[in-house]
Amino acid sequence: MSGQGGPGVASGRLAENVVHFGRALRAAGMRVGPGAIADALQALATTGVGGRGDVYWTLHACLVKRHEDHEVFDQTFRLFFRRRGLQERMMSELLPPTPNADRSNEVRSRVADALHGKREAELPREQKPKVELDARLTMSQTELLQTKDFEAMSAAEIAVARQLVRRLVMPDDKVRTRRLVPSGRGGRIDMRRSLRASLRTGGHGVTLERRAPAERHPPVVALCDISGSMAQYSRMVLHFLHALTEARGRVHSFVFGTRLTNVTRQLAARDPEVALERTACAVSDWSGGTRITTCIRRFNHDWSRRVLGQGAVVLLVTDGLERDPDADLAREVERLKRSCRRLVWLNPLLRFDRFEPRAGGIRAILPHVDEFRPVHNLAAMRELVAALDGSAVSAPRSPRDWLKEYAA
């Protein structure tokens, strides 16, 4: 920056304000590096401080790098440059204004916290599990909006499960990509390397070097039911997903009860404790009811095109006990099936020897899945790993067989 002072770069109070603003954005959860701030200053000098709209879009161009951040930026900008006209604010000396208690939505309160410097609000504290009833979302069954403390779950079980899950050898399921890499026995001739090799001998004879398609892990997308009926299993599955995320990239994890939450970033934390704690904080519908149809539709609508590219395997972890299954559930699962390479349904209910696909939800989902497996214990989880690997010892029964048998 030092070399660019003078007219080329916004300076003085304006610079100070932008730096402050950047700090507020960062506190509100956006990733704003010093490089972006420097860009913003240069950009403001380029556009010239004109109308409020221009400043807004100039800062937006430099500081927002993800579509999701737009909302946070918008709120922060409004709060930050609110009181008087922008220009006076930039000219006069400034500290961020105090936002009033208007906190109608989540983002705004997050932004307000950031401006207030109330960081501790975001950190998990040992709280008594609060049970709040939300009248708006009440269905036939009450939704339990609570952030469940992992400590409250059986510690012994968690410890054993985690250790054993960690010890699993994660699946080595490679699929071929269209990228070519040097290989001893590839099907295609690598002209470039062949030619170079032949030059080494001064052009006498050409040894053919070869290339073959590279192989890599396909993405895994997990949709994990965390409703009350699944509580015992979803925890274990999350540990499994954490281990899987750590072992290979491209694992996208979603949890759902009455709403769908993307917890990929939370699960990316190294330490499993921290990762699961963050997940618990991010999720508000832990151990409540389920709305499978709505959640799968949200996934199809908002996420499927973003995460299901490049031949993803989808793990759908749910007991399939939907309150009111209708044609929509079947339609959404079918949509999901058609968007991914393989749809694996993990159902803990399958642990019962006499499992019968009697519930309407289960019968709606079953025809559309490629594989139907239990996930109730570690043996089942190990089998799942083997199945993902493509080296399954015993092939599970086809999902359609379940239905046929039941019908008979």
Partner: protein
């Protein structure tokens, strides 16, 4: 000093930028004009993300026309590598060169290598082409649908975009004197890494609002009657509020307006709408959903709204 050279023919203000785009048939909003102006002025790549069919690629095309620069397009796909994106050697010609050298009895390896890896055997691909000097100013480099490639190519691109140079081991480094105007588009079928986005100015291209879409249709489909244009735009806007798997983009609106004009429609009627839904909706379940009477219902609502707005 370098700035004046690079800034030759570039718009000087945000307003000029939006006028420039409008003159070449692209109706932009203030946000897009601002980010585009900054990208041109600051010499930074422009990263455009958004749903399919909102006119991302079109921005680069219009930009090259408006500025009178050459457009170099790199269409991304899975498995894209250096030999298709940057450069490749003409192996057949090289082989002949080696044979000739043998015939002449040249066995000096150093010299042979120099002969074989000469510039005349170099096949230039889009990225290398974009770095070379062009008459009339640096070209517009469009890297289309970056989300279709893999992370490896993205990492390579990062290197190119930060220094505007590529190294060819056999020849040396090619460095661009005036960096190209880079436009990157993504349909967001996967997340592009933050490191790459950080080097760019980011802009989310959204569906246009009714007012802007009206201007777009008027400028792109001048043959459509005013009444039809209004109805088409209002209908598409209403359709985007429906819970569809894939909402129609601007490209679909234009296609639809063109199709209806071809059919000599002066205004919308339920039968024509149902018959031509395939132009707007590209998923069977979306079409099915609308055909269950919803298409007509929506049309009635749109009509009522238009009437209310006029009266």
């Amino acid at each position: 000093m370098a700035e004046t050279e690079a800034a030759r023919g570039l718009p000087a203000t945000i307003d000029e930028t939006s006028v420039l785009l409008a003159d070449h048939g692209y109706v932009s909003d203030r946000a897009l004009a601002t980010v585009l102006f900054l990208a041109l002025r600051m010499g930074r790549p422009l990263f455009l993300e958004g749903e399919a069919g909102v006119g991302k690629t079109e921005i680069a095309k219009v930009l090259s026309q408006a500025l009178g620069r050459r457009l170099i397009r790199l269409q991304c796909y899975e498995g894209l590598d250096v030999s298709t994106a940057v450069y490749e050697w003409n192996y057949a010609a090289q082989m002949i060169e080696i044979r000739m050298a043998e015939a002449e009895g040249i066995a000096d390896r150093q010299r042979l290598a120099e002969d074989v890896f000469a510039e005349k055997f170099l096949v230039r691909r889009p990225l290398l082409e974009a770095l070379e000097p062009h008459e009339g100013g640096a070209p517009v480099l469009l890297i289309d649908e970056l989300d279709r490639t893999d992370e490896a190519f993205e990492a390579f691109l990062l290197e190119v975009l930060s220094d505007f140079q590529v190294t060819i081991p056999e020849l040396g480094t090619v460095r661009s004197e005036t960096p190209p105007i880079v436009v990157i588009t993504s349909n967001r079928t996967r997340e592009i890494h933050d490191a790459l986005k950080r080097r760019c100015l980011y802009h989310w291209v959204d569906y246009p609002d009714a007012k802007r879409e009206l201007r777009i249709v008027r400028s792109r489909v001048p043959g459509a009657s005013e009444a039809l244009t209004r109805e088409v735009v209002a209908y598409v806007q209403a359709l985007r509020r429906e819970d569809l798997f894939k909402s129609p983009g601007v490209a679909e609106t234009l296609d639809w307006a063109t199709a209806l004009t071809e059919l000599d429609a002066m205004s919308l009627d339920p039968a024509t709408v149902e018959d031509t839904l395939g132009v707007l909706l590209k998923y069977q379940e979306d079409v099915a959903r609308m055909q269950e009477g919803r298409a007509k219902q929506l049309l009635d609502e749109v009509r009522a709204d238009l009437k209310a707005a006029r009266g």
